[in-house]
């Protein structure tokens, strides 16, 4: 491996966004057949660095070498021509077009027409070599997230990429899908492709990568030569520069029921509906919701947060019956909500962060009077939260969309916690967050629990649920098929229930 020149090499790359130094003098190289892990806290500059390599951003300084020769990558076309492919954190697909059309975009045709036959042959090749299959005529909107990701990978291979960049590919996958992804990636590396793999899940990094580069505040903070022999805690320490201690979960002293659902059923609204779900959450307790994604978790979160009205069944929050099922009503009853999709139902990406942070309570006395906003109070509130939650951003007036994933999540958390909810429902609260940020979120949940809030955590990360919950309810095909005390729960026991093979628990 060492005799060949690196497949690609980045030297002294720097990039600033206004005052933010996203990358500073970063060096990085990938050899053929190598899987390189790229680690770093949220906002460390991983995505920025990869966007530079892929030609989406121009670096302020530094150079890029492909096979030992300097190249200039001014746009994605240049990167693709240099054999670099990228699977973005947020997919770059047109959802109303078909798989085939998304594949063929930018590919010169044959005799002026789209070369469908040639594409089918290539698609076949890729399926055979790496075990990546997709139906070419399906619209992308009909694909699951895992399949969309597969399409992105196929897209890169289709363009004969020699280096594949994957930005947090596992954040959106169910555990079973991760195995499939990893075996495909290993097959690619075995055939001499280079791979750059970004992830916050350090155990995955240890299992998959050959070498790691760790970024902190835009600079290379360290390198890990044998990830398999390095502990996750050691890596985490390199990432944040200090030790990470798992939060302590004291015994819970649950009190009265603050959230109860009684035989709630919903109609299908584009996902799995709920079927006679009964659930009670008491104050001072954390209830985890486990399940393979698409088994009704979204409908449950939507019902609780007042975005979906059940067809039958009742819901009470803090002893009061929910009647209209509007977000405003449940908020008034004391519900806080951390939505799954930060970008669309969480914050308004085009508005200043400060506005987004007060949005659910914009009509309350604190932020408006006589129909007029109080900009001073809004900015002051945002500033206080930015300080308290260590949200890294240029200031309260920055566009919310410019924040990195972890910081967006902190902002959402800050917004909900500031109002002392009686019940909190959080969907995938640590998805895409680095270890430090995830710990931070967990600490906040535990602190909230100590303040007698009832908390529902929907997550696909079983380790997270086991660490956090007092009880864990498992969903399968729209029903709750079992509720375990976390003392009796284990990954294997939960896994059984999640696959519908649990029987009665």
């Amino acid at each position: 491996m060492t005799t060949l020149p690196p497949l690609i090499e980045m030297r002294g790359i720097s990039k600033s966004f206004g005052p933010v130094k996203a990358n500073e003098a970063v060096d990085l190289a990938v050899a053929p057949g190598e899987i390189l892990g790229l680690l770093g806290e949220n906002g460390a500059g991983k995505t920025t660095l990869m966007n530079i390599l892929f030609g989406a951003y121009q670096p302020d300084a530094g150079e890029i070498l492909v096979n030992g020769k300097p190249v200039s990558i001014r746009n994605s076309a240049d990167a693709l021509a240099a054999g670099i492919g990228m699977v973005h954190q947020h997919f770059h697909l047109a959802s109303r077009l078909t798989v085939m059309e998304n594949l063929l975009i930018g590919i010169p045709g044959k005799g002026g027409r789209l070369d469908r036959a040639g594409a089918l042959a290539r698609l076949d090749d890729i399926a055979r070599n790496y075990g990546l299959h997709l139906d070419p005529d399906q619209p992308v909107s009909a694909l699951s997230i895992g399949e969309q990701q597969r399409l992105e990978i196929i897209k890169a291979l289709f363009r004969r990429a020699r280096l594949l960049i994957l930005d947090e590919p596992t954040a959106v996958l169910a555990p079973s899908e991760v195995d499939g992804l990893f075996s495909a990636l290993r097959a690619m590396a075995a055939q001499g492709l280079g791979i750059i793999f970004i992830s916050h899940k350090l155990n995955e990094v240890r299992a998959l990568t050959h070498r790691c580069v760790v970024l902190r505040h835009g600079r290379v903070a360290g390198r890990v030569d044998v990830p398999a022999e390095t502990t996750a805690l050691e890596m985490a320490q390199l990432m944040c520069g200090h030790e990470i201690v798992p939060p302590e979960r004291g015994p819970s002293v649950p009190g009265a029921v603050v959230l109860s659902l009684d035989a709630v059923s919903t109609g299908g609204h584009g996902g799995m509906p709920l079927r006679a779900v009964t659930l009670a959450v008491r104050e001072g307790e954390i209830v985890g919701i486990a399940g393979v994604s698409g088994n009704g978790q979204r409908a449950l979160a939507d019902v609780v947060s007042g975005m979906l009205k059940p067809q039958s069944g009742t819901m009470d929050i803090a002893g009061k019956r929910v009647a209209a099922f509007t977000p405003r009503e449940v908020q008034a009853l004391g519900l806080g909500r951390i939505p799954e999709d930060r970008m669309t139902t969480g914050l308004v990406t085009n508005l200043p962060l400060a506005d987004s942070m007060v949005l659910p309570r914009i009509g309350t006395e604190a932020f408006s009077a006589r129909g007029l906003l109080k900009p001073g109070a809004i900015v002051a509130f945002a500033e206080a939260q930015i300080e308290a939650f260590d949200i890294r951003c240029p200031g309260p007036m920055v566009r919310a969309g410019a924040l990195s994933g972890g910081n967006l999540q902190k902002a959402l958390l800050a917004r909900e916690l500031a109002f002392d909810p009686k019940v909190l429902i959080a969907a995938q609260p640590t998805r895409g967050l680095d270890i430090g940020a995830a710990r931070f979120v967990h600490e906040k949940f535990l602190a909230l629990r100590a303040r007698r809030c009832g908390i529902v955590v929907v997550s696909e990360d079983l380790e997270e649920l086991l660490a956090l919950s007092d009880r864990i309810a498992v969903m399968y095909e729209g029903r709750i098929v079992g509720v375990l005390d976390s003392a009796d729960a284990s990954v294997s026991r939960l896994g059984m229930l999640m696959s519908g093979a649990g029987g009665s628990a």
């Binding site: 989406a56 121009q58 994605s76 047109a94 109303r96 077009l97 975009i105 930018g106």
Partner: protein, 314 residues
Amino acid sequence: MSAVLEQVFQVGFLAAIIRIATPLAFATLGEMFSERAGVLNLGIEGIMLLAAMAGFTGAYFSGSLWVGVLAAVAAGALMGALHALFTVVLGLSQHVCGIGVTLFSSGLAYFLYRLIFGQQSVPPSIKGFQPVPIPILSDIPVLGPAVFNQFTLVYMAILAIPLAAFILYRTPWGLSVRMVGENPRAADSAGVSVMATRFQAVVLGGALMGLAGSFLVMAQFNAFTFGVVSGRGWVAIALVVFGRWDPWRSAGAALLFAFVDALQLRLQAAGLGHIPYEAFLMLPFVLTIVAMAFMSRNAVAPSALLKPFRREER
């Protein structure tokens, strides 16, 4: 009543529909290409007027109708390029720029026309296109004389529909157009120039609007007047929505509108005395609104319509 019906559906009714539909079809296809690429072109009304003026002038002075058509297409493409410069390259508001382009090109058309032809009591006219019967096909009863004994521009419009569908759905460029209109970031990361593709689509759209304008002055009225377009551009914008941004459906929408318009003209002529003629004039527009309200409920516009693309923004 039966007398009225007879007069309405006499021979030539079908031919009239086709003639009314032709400029609408060109304009609708033009607007569709532009919008498919993510650029609303509200300049269409003015572009058609300026192109009509340029086409008329070109034909008047050169004596060749085809030189006129070429001048109209060039004027349309040029105005398309202007709109693209503002909205695609500079990323300005498509609404504002489109209305600006309409005002500017209408003003320019009036100004140049007066400058060239001065104030005349009888507006100058040209000898417009004559129908060109297609052998054999034009002998088919009913359909023959209506469809296959038409102006060359009509045949071009009929061919433009499958051609537009072919370009949009079967060629790499057409796929790029659809992609930049749906998700420009995806196109960009696949190595497609969003800027160039959008620019080209808007210019092509402008050229088609130019063809529409040329038909009005060289086949329909054979003279240029300031009212020659009279809302056909705005109608085309509605027809694109009605046609769900698809060439076949859009052309179908144009045909439907033309049917009602032709019907309305006949009803007027039939003189149902007690109804004011303005009521008939309104008919196609009312129908468009009603049809739009029903048919376009679940129509989905290109996702990136109206959205300028800047690469380093997230």
